[in-house]
Amino acid sequence: MFETLSDKLQRAFKNLRGEGTVSEENINDALREIRVALLEADVNLSVVKEMIEHVREKAMGSEVMTALSPTEQVIKIVRDELITILGKDTARFNFASRPPTVILMAGLQGSGKTTTSGKLAAWLQKGGHRPMLVSVDVYRPAAREQLRVVASSIKANIYEGDLKGEPAGTPLVERLAKEARREAVNYGCDVLIVDTAGRLHIDDHLMQEMRSLKALLSPQEILFVADAMTGQDAVRSAESFHQQLALTGTVLTKMDGDARGGAALSIRHITGQPVKFIGTGEKPDAFEPFHPDRIVSRILGMGDIMTLIEKAESTLDRKKSEEFARKALSGDGFSLEDFRDQLRQIKKLGSMQSIMKMLPSVGPFQGLQQMAGQVDEKQFSRVEAIINSMTKKERNNHEIISGSRRKRIATGSGTSVQEVNQLLRQYAQMRKMFKSAGKPGMQRKLMGSLNAMRGMGGMGGGMGR
């Protein structure tokens, strides 16, 4: 795998130690690494250049603080700069004072307009709105059929309209749009989402159609749907769409992949309009408001730890976790009973894969993401089954689990004695590790929990049949 930004910066700053400030000479290497990292993340070149100059200005002559290493300091400056470009707050959604609010979806072919239209409708429904969908994509084969299927899967209203054999073209598009708005009013729908055909920003004819749709519907929102995997060209298409339509925001799709999403930065920079939502999967609810600080971490390869924390906070039982941490780090150590509780909690968070993805790819967590793919989710169930087959007494004192007990547990859980042995061995190791981590020192605590996670991963791999 490629080197992380943090590693590169560390190397660039190796010679910096002992010097009191960040100087012109020693920062050039670092800036070059930052430039490369941003370019690898698909941030547009001109945006990168501008940013680098800002960072240089800010970093020059700034005191090398003892609390932060020069590396951390520069990363912090880069982070702050990126967040400034992206805007600090989650963008708000505009609603019309007199419904229906009209949302026009715009974008290149294959960026995900139809899927996003459906997700947006589902999101609005969850917020108590009554959206109506309409597809005016009369060009791509089966595009309107696609939206119809999407709408029925989320039980949203859709205006299908009747093509009446009319040839594909702007008059037909305008007629469908007009009828849909009337239909939305009649049905008491407060939002009309208009899914349009994908088009190239240099296609004058289709861009003209987009402008007339805008004039016809006076939409409150014109959302630019863009693929997170877009490279340097993102700037050109976004700029052109914005010039011709005055976009109000962007939806960044396919964010569940491993693209760094630098396009978000480029598009935000060139249009001045916020990224409002991100698409994170194929299901209708894989759609969330955009948080600038999170994508910044991702662009820099630092993971999406905020999302993880938020998710953990909303799903985990805090008291139980604290209890576990206290026990694990204290002299008593945690029991298998506690371990099972934790296992169940983790399972509530989602798949191991999705959790690991949110961890940073730098620092102590390095390598975990690659591991994510190898974790066998079924292992968790198997481990749980083994613990379930123990008696309460056994769970609270693993030392009493003798050979015959192991045999019984294996039979009871549908596993083998070897697997039971392995679990017990790993458990004992983990318990010991936690205990030693309980001694003062944050770094060691972190390493302890990290090793525990590694241990679980290893257990998964080792026990596979």
Binding site: V36, L39, E40, A41, D42, N44, L45, L108, Q109, G110, S111, G112, T114, Y139, R140, P141, A142, A143, E145, Q146, L147, R148, V149, V150, S153, L200, H201, I202, D227, M229, T230, G231, Q232, D233, A234, R236, S237, K254, D256, G257, D258, A259, R260, G262, A263, E282, Q353, G373
Partner: protein
């Protein structure tokens, strides 16, 4: 009479050849303009090839989505040779760059395969929204024009209306389609299609698969299963696995190519939507690092907007030579 006939025949042939070349050029002209513009600027400054100028050149390759590693490697080779040959002339520098990029694209390009035993099975794979279904339709038309019998397999049973979309392409090209209902098992419909292709002595079977992000292990395993299903049926199939990639794709294209090759055994790239302003430069990076050639380029929404890849035209257009 014969001469006239010969003459007119020749005439009819020539524009066609030029047509493909021209369209290819047209498609990448915008790329070329952008890149050559920055090249001119650099060239103007390059009375002496200094590191700064080469640095700038590297940045413009990066701006064409070639990627950092590829740009650096190309430039370091260029730097060395420019210094050895005491190159001072910008035009020479450009020519050297042209040779370098074309060599990368050509290194792993193979001549069109001849399938000894029909059916030839071609799998189309890729992330969501790159144009697999459209490319399937265009490829069907392409093989039909070559006088082959073609069968389409709608193995995208996941995306809403993907089957209907392929059906319309089938009607447009006069090609039959083997399908199941949405949500069906893609390997099952593939099996049916393989059977049908064999029974009807079809020359080419085109399999349109569902778009999937390369990071989704389960979905990638499904591709592997489809490949194995094909293999069981015809030992040396699939004969071609085409990764359909959007020309606007940035550096993530590398990851896509890498992981799709691992699961599906990609043999070539189809670069779509090259009629926009996107550069498709990631294809150079992919060719260099993963040894995968570009087979076709998509340049529009019509049936015949699919062209065989021509590295000379692509490179020339890219650099404005």
């Amino acid at each position: 009479m014969i001469q006239t006939l010969f003459g007119s025949l020749k005439e009819a042939e020539e524009p066609k050849k030029r047509g493909i070349f021209e369209r290819m050029r047209e498609a990448v002209t915008r790329t070329r303009e952008n890149l050559s513009q920055s090249l001119e600027e650099i060239v103007a400054l390059t009375i002496e090839i200094d590191d700064k100028a080469l640095d700038e050149l590297e940045m413009s390759l990066i701006a064409a989505d070639l990627g950092v590693v590829t740009a650096q490697e190309i430039l370091s080779a260029l730097r060395e040779r420019a210094l050895n040959h005491k190159i001072r002339d910008g035009a020479e520098l450009k020519q050297m760059l042209r040779v370098e990029i074309k060599a990368i694209l050509d290194a792993y390009a193979t001549p069109p395969r001849v399938v000894e035993q029909a059916p030839e099975v071609i799998l189309l794979v890729g992330v969501n929204g790159t144009g697999k279904t459209t490319t399937s339709g265009k490829l069907a038309a392409w093989y039909r024009r070559m006088g082959k019998t073609v069968l389409l397999c709608a193995a995208d049973t996941f995306r809403a209306a993907a089957i209907e979309q392929l059906e319309i392409w089938g009607q447009r090209t006069g090609v039959e389609i083997i399908k199941t209902k949405q949500g069906g098992d893609p390997s099952a419909v593939l099996f049916d299609a393989l059977n049908a292709a064999k029974a009807r002595s079809i020359d080419v079977l085109l399999v349109d698969t569902a778009g999937r992000l390369h990071t989704k292990n389960d979905l990638m395993k499904e591709l592997d299963k489809m490949r194995r299903t094909t293999q069981r049926f015809i030992p040396d199939a699939p004969h071609e696995v085409l990764l359909v990639m959007d020309a606007t794709t940035g550096q993530n294209g590398m990851q896509q190519a890498k992981l799709f090759t691992e699961s599906a055994g990609v043999t070539g790239i189809v670069l779509t939507k090259l009629d926009g302003t996107a550069k498709g430069g990631v294809a150079v990076a992919i060719a260099r690092e993963l040894q995968l050639p570009v087979r076709f380029v998509g340049v529009g929404e019509k049936l015949d907007d699919l062209l065989p890849f021509d590295s000379a035209a692509f490179t020339d257009s890219l650099l404005g030579a």
